[in-house]
Amino acid sequence: MEFFHTIVAILESTIRVSVPLIFAALAGLFTERAGVFDIGLEGKMLGAAFAAGAVAAVTGSVLMGLLAAILISVLLSLVHGYASITQRGSQIVSGVAINFIVAGSTVILGEAWFRQGGRTPALDADARFQTVTFPFADAVKDVPIFGPIYSNLLSGHFILTYVAFLLVPFSWWVLYRTRFGLRLRAVGENPGAVDTAGISVIWLRYRAVICCGILCGFAGAYLSLAMSAGFVKGMTAGKGYIALAALIFAKWRPFNIMMACLLFGFLDALAIRLQGNPLPFIGQVPVQLMQALPYILTVILLAGFIGKAVPPKAGGVPYVKER
């Protein structure tokens, strides 16, 4: 029974750390499927986390915090869009630039406004997301097996957590069952086909990039308004890159993304759990190895050992009308 409770605890923290990955990887899904590669997920998430923390601290409203996060993230996306769609610049350079600018400016602005060493003030309960408790969660808590699963694993998460998991089938539906999705996938494969069909490639790609911004906004808000009570400098700590790895690992497919994010989240949760707890026979597992595992798995995938990851064909290439 002790072991069972440990498992439930690890799975529960798996869900907790997977949420920002799912938001960010779905964000990447929309833009990359439209042919705009985005290495700036990290920066957008960080900018959104800061905006959420700052605005929630000032207004005391969690909703305003979330809206500010989405707004900032969308603006950063539009910068990326302008550089890589309109000006046909390098998508990698633009993404990296956004990551650097955000990493620096959040600290500078945070210090200038709040004078707490780049943090935003700690938030009251009202200015944060609250956890949702399912009906009867307390009542069934002590029922064996079902109890812990229902009241610890399924119940008791933030509303954004449920949103993230519902967004997975929703994203699939948008991409595969709507006209917008069909065109979005087409523009990532052969923008020429979209252009000659009389649809604007540029507008379509901008819309994809805006979708990405909105989802990154959720990811950032989750970090500073749900997981923590305020913004801390560099609080994304590479989650944007892990999300990117998950996106590739998932071969740019929504349900695979959820599984990849849960896997990477599980590794993270396990790493935290194993800290200072040597495993039988194996001994102490270095935390760094666990943290590197998502990247190692992705590299192994890209090397072609686990099936083949074929990126959208027109990905990374600005569209220029031929001749």
Partner: protein, 511 residues
């Protein structure tokens, strides 16, 4: 008036200093196949792009069915009833036929209803025009001929009455091209108007009713096809008389210069592209390798010239082996008398940002005569470039000009001059006249024959069957990586066409 489908009046278009279309007038009659012929860069594609709304004309009017229209984007063209089949198919390869056909013409936000409607409409079109294709097949799994059919269906689905086909036969085998012509004839019978763009005279004569000739951005003539001839059209295209046939004497083959035995090559995906190929190439003969693009010819050339590593097999150059399965060094092969004119001059043959003189010594830049100690002897390079410019009539005659600024034909001459002037024993040429105008083709063909007559061994790969037949002393046909037959140059086109399509070859291999 009602029998006119499209009328262009005074269309003018410039890109910077390039005057692509000068005061073009064109009248296309309803229910006819109207050919537009001209050399590369004559402005055909620009004109059609204006008609399809990719570009806007600087001045001039477009009339569709007698009414003046403004075509500001492809959408406007589609709603005026104009459809286009592009030279490079505008299809999404991992989508199904149905998804491609309805892309951009879906009739609701949610796909399900659009899909079922599109399926019904596609069935109707298939029946009406006898254009069968499986609506649920993925594009990437279809042969090129069927992909083109999907492009045609796409246009018909959008209710196009006027179909523009831009160089539609470039990627097709001869039987596939014949099939396309039958489809076009049938579309014409059902009242559609077809504008057929090509640089191949034979196709114009075969299927068009009328033909308009473009030269250097101008519309120089329009003729009824039955009242004109190949010779007249060629002259109109080039602006002077051209010899369409290549005059060449009997070949005088000597010793074997290049011996290829059981060569097998795989591409980067691991697919076998050259499958156990063997042949000999003798001094004083031209061996042509015919085949539809993508049947292993490119990989064969790359393996022989040391650019791509072969899996197995041997190649002897002047009786001595080339390390084709190991580290064959293209520079070393050059010194041993093998010259290579690559298929893709932009990516392999030239550095477009270098000037003409620099490209003229590329690969031979370690040669003593271009060096002054460890430095390049710029004066010698300049003199060398000027000689070649003169001998090969490279225009403009400016060795300092960036290579990107030369026309396709002149770029090709730069590569040919570099490789031929070294007097190699073996000359390997891929697509010698791809994207080259008729005038330059004549010159290039003459030079290739001259090389042969000087006793050089020439291996020629081309997807232009006419070119292979005109130049070669022996023709080897490749299909799916294998040699499926060897023929004399007087073999009929039909016979070669069947071999290229893999029809005859299978029978022959089975026997």
């Amino acid at each position: 008036m009602s029998d006119i489908a499209i009328e262009l009046r005074g269309i003018d278009k410039s890109f910077g200093l390039v005057h692509a279309n000068k005061d073009i007038n064109l009248t296309v009659r309803k229910g006819t196949i109207h050919g537009i012929i001209g050399e590369n860069g004559a402005g055909k594609s620009t004109l059609m792009s204006i008609l399809y709304g990719f570009y806007q004309a600087d001045s001039g009017d477009i009339l569709v069915g007698g009414n003046k229209v403004t075509i500001k984007d492809p959408n406007a063209a589609i709603s005026s009833g104009i459809g286009m089949v592009h030279q490079h198919f505008m299809l999404v390869e991992n989508f199904t036929v149905l998804e491609n056909v309805m892309l951009g013409a879906e009739d609701s936000q949610i796909l399900n209803t659009s899909i079922s409607k599109a399926r019904v409409e596609l069935k109707r079109l298939e029946k009406e025009y006898a254009l069968e294709v499986n609506p649920d097949a993925l594009i990437e799994e279809l042969p090129v001929g069927l992909q083109q059919r999907v492009e045609i269906l796409k246009a018909l689905y959008r209710k196009a009455d006027i179909l523009i086909l831009d160089e539609p036969t470039g990627v097709l085998t001869p039987p596939e091209a014949d099939h396309l012509f039958r489809i076009l004839g049938q579309l014409k019978d059902q009242g559609k108007t077809i504008i057929f763009i090509t640089h191949k005279l034979r196709e114009i004569m075969a299927i068009t009713d009328e033909v308009s000739v473009m030269r250097r951005g101008e519309m120089v003539a329009t003729r009824k096809t039955k009242d004109t001839s190949v010779e007249e059209l060629a002259e109109l295209m080039v602006g002077r008389r051209v010899l369409l046939r290549v005059d060449k004497g009997e070949a005088n083959p000597g010793a074997v210069k290049l011996a290829v035995e059981n060569l097998t090559v795989r591409d980067s995906r691991g697919v076998t592209m050259v499958d156990n190929v063997s042949f000999n190439l003798r001094a004083g003969e031209i061996v042509g390798i015919a085949g539809v693009a993508g049947n292993g010819q490119s990989e064969l050339l790359e393996a022989i010239s040391g650019i791509r590593r072969a899996v197995s097999g041997t190649v002897l150059l002047n009786g001595k082996p080339i390390d084709v399965t190991g580290h064959a060094d293209p520079g070393d092969l050059r010194n041993r008398g093998l010259a290579h004119v690559p298929e893709d001059r932009h990516h392999v043959g030239l550095v477009l940002k270098f000037d003409e003189a620099e490209n003229g010594i590329l690969g031979y830049h370690n040669d003593k005569r271009y060096l002054n100690g460890v430095f390049l002897d710029t004066k010698a390079i300049q003199v060398d470039a000027e000689e070649k410019i003169k001998k090969y009539d490279i225009r403009p005659p400016n060795p300092r000009l960036k290579t990107a600024n030369f026309s396709g034909g002149n770029q090709q001459k730069i590569v040919l001059a570099r490789e031929m002037e070294r007097g190699p024993d073996v000359l390997i040429i891929g697509q010698p006249t791809r994207g080259v105008d008729v005038g330059a083709i004549e010159f290039i063909h003459k030079r290739i024959i001259e090389m042969r007559d000087q006793g050089k061994a020439v291996l020629l790969v081309s997807v232009e069957l006419d070119e292979i037949r005109a130049l070669s002393d022996r023709i080897i046909v490749m299909f799916a990586g294998r040699v499926v037959g060897e023929r004399d140059p007087d073999a009929t086109e039909g016979e070669l066409g069947l071999l290229m399509a893999g029809v005859e070859g299978r029978k022959e291999a089975a026997e």
